[in-house]
Amino acid sequence: MKQEHTQHRSKRYGMVIDLDKCTGCGACMVACFSENNVPFKKDETDKRLSITWMKVYRIDNGRDFPNNQVCYIPRPCQHCAGQHEGHSPCVSVCPATATDYSRETGIVSQIYTRCFGCRYCMGACPYHARYFNWWDPVWPEGMEKYLSPNVSPRMRGVVEKCSFCFHRYQLARDKAYANRRKDVKEADYQTACTQACPAGAITFGDLNNPGHAVHQIVKPNDHVVKNKAGISIIGKSQNPNVFRMLERLGTNTKVYYLSSREWVRKAGDNYIADEKPEDMFAEQKKH
């Protein structure tokens, strides 16, 4: 089948973030801002109006002093595959094909010049990974000098989001072509947040490539499995400490998280009453 054929040759770029190592320092956020020409305003304290492709959430276990425990969760765009590859919550709803899913890389793209700002994709994304340019981006005089030529600055009225630093893939491909190589090396394509993270908490690479570190940590299941609710789960991690955010919804994200703490892993999804993460696939395990 065609699907199998493309899957065979395709890459699925993804990320695993070690929440034990993440210290919530915010370097990933700033690395992303400066890599991707993210605009800023004089007041960025209204976090619902603050463009942060990569956003670090602070969560706690809800207990009082001194039993409070804290974990930081960096959240880039999750690059969902959806129920069948490419059926991401946002890609499927964009009326103008401004956001797309690439079978070659598994990356969800956003074309700012195509987007006309209906914001349906933002409503569709449960991760709040999409941001709208409520204002025309303005850099204080002189500061536009640091803008990177590799990422196109956006205009007012369009949606933007993390692209897994796709321009770095483009540059890596250029480099590969120049060296008469076919493939992009793991080290040649790393996102800005991965590169900057002082704790080394982020691992990025091709989830389909067993040679890549991200594959080795995540150990994604090659087969699509169905959970209790009949939702297809693509690339389910076989590492017990690895989880994805809102996996139950079937978004099939390509950003994985690693934590040794159970309450953190449980915070990745919603559970009713006494459900446990491991119950989700109870029936499959019996087979």
Binding site: D20, K21, T23, G24, C25, G26, A27, M29, V30, A31, F33, S34, E35, N37, F40, K42, D43, E44, T45, D46, K47, S50, T52, V56, R58, D60, G62, R63, D64, F65, P66, N68, Q69, V70, C71, Y72, T113, R114, D136, P137, W139, P140, E141, G142, M143, E144, K145, Y146, L147, S148, P149, P153, R154, M155, A192, A196, P198, A199, G200, A201
Partner: protein, 743 residues
Amino acid sequence: MKLSRRCFLSFVVGGAAGTALSPLPWKLTDDLSIWSQNWSWTPVPPDGEYTQVNSTCTLCPGGCGIGIRKAGKRAVKIEGLAGHPVNDGGVCLLGLSGLQLLYGPARVKTPLKRTGKRGGGQWQAISWKQAIKEVTEKLKELRKKNQPQSLASIGPNGSGTVSALISRFMKAYGSSNDMKMASKLDSDEQALFLTQGIQNGMVGADVENADFILSFGCAVLDGYGSPVRMFRANSRWKENSATLIQIEPRQSNTAAKADQWLPINPGGEADLALAMANIIIKENLYNSSFVSDNCDGLNSFVQMLYENYMPEDAARRIGIDVQTIIDLAHRFATAARPLAINGYGKGQNPSNLKETLAIHALNALVGNIGKKGGITGLSAYDYIRWPKVVTDTVAAAGLKESRLDGAGTNAFPHAKSLPNRFFDKLSAGNTSIQALLVAEANPCYSMPDTAKIKRVFDSIPFIVSFSSFMDETAMMADLILPNHTFLERYEDVPVKAGLTAPIVGLCRPAVEPQWDTLDLGDALIRIAQSIGGSVGAAFPWKNYKTCLKQTLADQWKDLEKKGYWMPSQSLQADADSKNKAGGKSGRYVLMDGTLETIYMAQDAPLEGDSRSYSMLLMPYDTIRITSLQIGAPPFVMKTVPDTVLKGQDGFIEINKKEATEMGFKQGQAVIVTTPIGEARVRVHLSSGLAPGVIAMPRGLGHTAYDDYLAGKGVNINQLIGPVEDPASGLDTALGIRAKLAKA
């Protein structure tokens, strides 16, 4: 009538049909669509050849290697330098936003001369020639009056050539009032001298190789030491299942990520460390071979502990139960490679000497001195070997006058510089300072009791700032001689931030100077040369770069190539032996007369009485807000959570339960009052703070810089006054008593 209307209509219809058949509407639509996709006012970054300049970041004492990525002539991104011994590719958010400082609106773009009232922000742009002339004239005048000692300087707490040039200038000029901003390095240095006899020492902590880390309030994950290195160490601890225990009243990032968070009463670090020492010795858990071979004064140390630091008493004072202390002592002493580190927060403020000594003693008891995974007293390898300054008579006379801050006197024999005492003196009415040079420091913002500091500044007749940015201190200056930013200049960066081996990084220009600025070194050289005489003679270099090259001599090539230089072991040993005071070589003093006085002394009380001020206000450090002389750039401010800053309002953290009892709701406006001042803030109810403690971040409440920073939140230094550590003379305030009331 009818005819013409019909004809007209028919004409219009024909026109419409013709238009539709012509490319006009279609091409116009397409072009308008392209126009609407590419608004002319959306910047289009010009492309160019991609190159990278490797340099060293000087925005904090961490000394990370950075690579500045360029497109054509523009710097477009700062990245961590892979393979660099300090940070190996990682980089913090401040370093990443460095370009916003370079190209930012807060830059002082040309020499400025004050025209209006001081602090009024009215300036006249002047040429460098005139700027140098004005400084020179003033300084010459003071020397003419035989008052060279009335010139003071405030410089960075560093040990590179820039800091040395300032000191050299002061010496040649004839003033001993050469102030350096104080930090944890000062208290470390004093402790090293007292325990190991090391002069000019710095504490290296082999954090990477420790497996049980007891952090006494250090913001390990919020900018302590060399921040990126600490992050990396933390990751290594996680990989190796090492244990990190964080001791502090507030659940900081470090506490949040630690394996155990031990909230104790503020200021209880020394008590806890000494109580642990007590237990370790009593239960014979200490490393007896190391102690007997290397340590002096064990018996008197033990006696002192038994008299003053019994676990029960300490437990009461620090607010945890005895069993916790005992457990902690056991775990520490029995760990394979335990390590205790100290320095509250980022270590930007000095620590109490007693606390420092206590924690060093704890390390000594487990034989953790100069060992893998332990702490090492290093003496900075001093590569600056300039010819001695020859002073003229004016200078010689001036130098005979004692320092205003009393550093080096009998009261504080080991202190080098005590800026807090300097300002106290001036504030108390001393008018001996007629001129002040400020470089790479922002005392009007970062020293406690800013109102007082500003009053002092107001009273000094002539102030020159060398700041690259329009910061609070530059605002108070009469003349600003703007320095290049770190991306436009050369500088040697000796890293002292807790590394186990000394490293000297090279900061070098990534781009052409963006504005009419001048390297601080060059400015000093020019000023000295234009003063002439012996002052000029002390600065024989053509420019700063020549000076730097000559100073680093053999190492220059290496530095240029690699971007950093690690002095070889033999050089280090050489430095070590030179700096060791006679007789103490290789020994560790647990107790002697001086130490006893320190250990037995009462802690300096916090300002304010507990009756009218029921709570304790503590500043806290977070890596999301820069708090040293550099103001946070917009990107950094963008990461500040809305529980710390909302709009222009800063937040104060308070224990959730306590706040509820007091009737405060999340986000409510309150007035926080301390003996020093008051401020309007909003409350953030936290589950991570001990009751009775309230906390505010350092780094907010700037009044200068740009609209992206100024006026946001409250500068905690407005609320906190200095608390002088009687042992060191340093300001070691870790908080102040305070009260909260509804606004």
